[in-house]
Symmetry: C2
Subunit: 326 residues, 2 copies
Amino acid sequence: VATEFDLIARYFTRALPGAVTGVEAGVVLGVGDDAALVNPRAGHELAITTDLLVAGTHFFPDTSPADLGWKTLAVNVSDIAAMGASPRWATLGLALPAHIAADEAWLSAFADGFFACADAYDIELVGGDTTRGPLAFSVTLIGEAPAGRAVRRSGAQVGDAIWVSGTPGRAALGLAHLQGRIALTEPDLTQCLAALHRPQPRLALGLALREFATAAIDISDGLLADLGHILARSGCGAALTVPDIAVLPALTFAQSLADASLVQACSLSGGDDYELLFTTPPDCRPTCEGLPLTRLGTITAQAGLIVRDAHGARITPTRFGYDHFG
Amino acid sequence: VATEFDLIARYFTRALPGAVTGVEAGVVLGVGDDAALVNPRAGHELAITTDLLVAGTHFFPDTSPADLGWKTLAVNVSDIAAMGASPRWATLGLALPAHIAADEAWLSAFADGFFACADAYDIELVGGDTTRGPLAFSVTLIGEAPAGRAVRRSGAQVGDAIWVSGTPGRAALGLAHLQGRIALTEPDLTQCLAALHRPQPRLALGLALREFATAAIDISDGLLADLGHILARSGCGAALTVPDIAVLPALTFAQSLADASLVQACSLSGGDDYELLFTTPPDCRPTCEGLPLTRLGTITAQAGLIVRDAHGARITPTRFGYDHFG
């Protein structure tokens, strides 16, 4: 069995092409000391986020290790994107049961997935900790945004338009398929499983948000639940119309009534999507190349979240989002 | 049962007395958004470290939650101190089994211990993640050091003196007592259990290291193992003499031969001490108010770690340090 130090050296230490000295921004000292050293960019604030993913709670223990490696970093990239910041430096904590610590193919695949995401979003892994324990991953990701330009949850104004990127609900539908609650067919199956296992954080949109968004959040708990966080922090309410939401999933399978209900529930309340939900001034027409942006409704002065059907009647979603302790 | 958001809000969100705006260094936005925002100090590098503590691997599940809260942050403070940096901002990931998530007294005590350490070392908790799972804590701590002044493991030079702070071995002796391998009596028992449960990171010494140390590390894996990390990174060896080390524990109990052997093993190879091990130019006489500093030996050109007894004969420690996968 490899020692702790072997594991870090073999799988999670890479040469730092961007290592810098002096005043240049970047990594000064990477993995292998008591702490990493980095030079932050002048005139920028740091955006700091952390996530802890636990086997059995966040993923099935038999999920592909490459997918796990990707996702454990990607969910943090999504948080940094939702602030309008650029991800820069990550740390990785790994708790590994003995049989995985001894499984070179697993470790190598996990590292490949992790670094594929790191490379896709220009992130350096600067530190880590490997220990024995029930399978779990912790990532802290540090990003940078020009001082004063980051986008918060608290900035929504009455009358603002509410927007969402992509097609929320796909990850939850993929999970429902794996759980036997719906039978997806191609090409939806591939698309929904990809959303579940290889989420694509909306970084390009996140950086563009600095230009036009008044508030933003990424959809990790579910669209309605995460909109609720914006409303709570901004001190306002929202009115949504279901038809605007219901058209979001571009799923082509023939829907039974039960399926249609599940699709709507996944769109409104499914977690794990990592799309961005944001508000803009009323007349703004935001765009992001290659990514559909859909207007869902309007910020209101009256507190609360009102969802109406096509006839204007209020409906009450059965489930607002995911809570680990609910 | 409290929801995830209740837990964060109730136990781990505090008003930020130091929240700043504009160009002042400090916390701009704390817990409660997709990411925290902080303003780093101009002309400084960031030091970044992370640790993952898992029940059953790093601590007994029945350890006092206040002690766990303190220690989970303190072990990271020690890493930042070993770089000669000042700790600033922390994130906390908590995986909690259902019975602990529902135990308000436990959560409150854990938070009290965590914030006691944060206050002692002037750290702001800026972000976190709470999830269900086997009991585990992940902390990432970000510190600052004037650019180019941080102390690394790699700077030891042939002829340098090797120093250690305090009395390494106390935490391991405390653990040995809890495991029934030695019977400590007062006042040693209190001192050793305090070292195990409430380690005091050597931050004042760490900041002073910038003035006189060529290399430094904190003792988390054991004195010899951690010295080995300095030697590996600095490309040199070391010669130590046991009498210099053996006098370190100021333990007053009457030692049997077996006890004396255990005390020596704990001093040389016991983990979890969080004292600082460092090297200085040969003629340097480092001091740190209130903290004994002991010279252990000398850095040598010949690779390897040579330990000699009082008669000059080489001895081979039976165990070099702790490894989670060894």
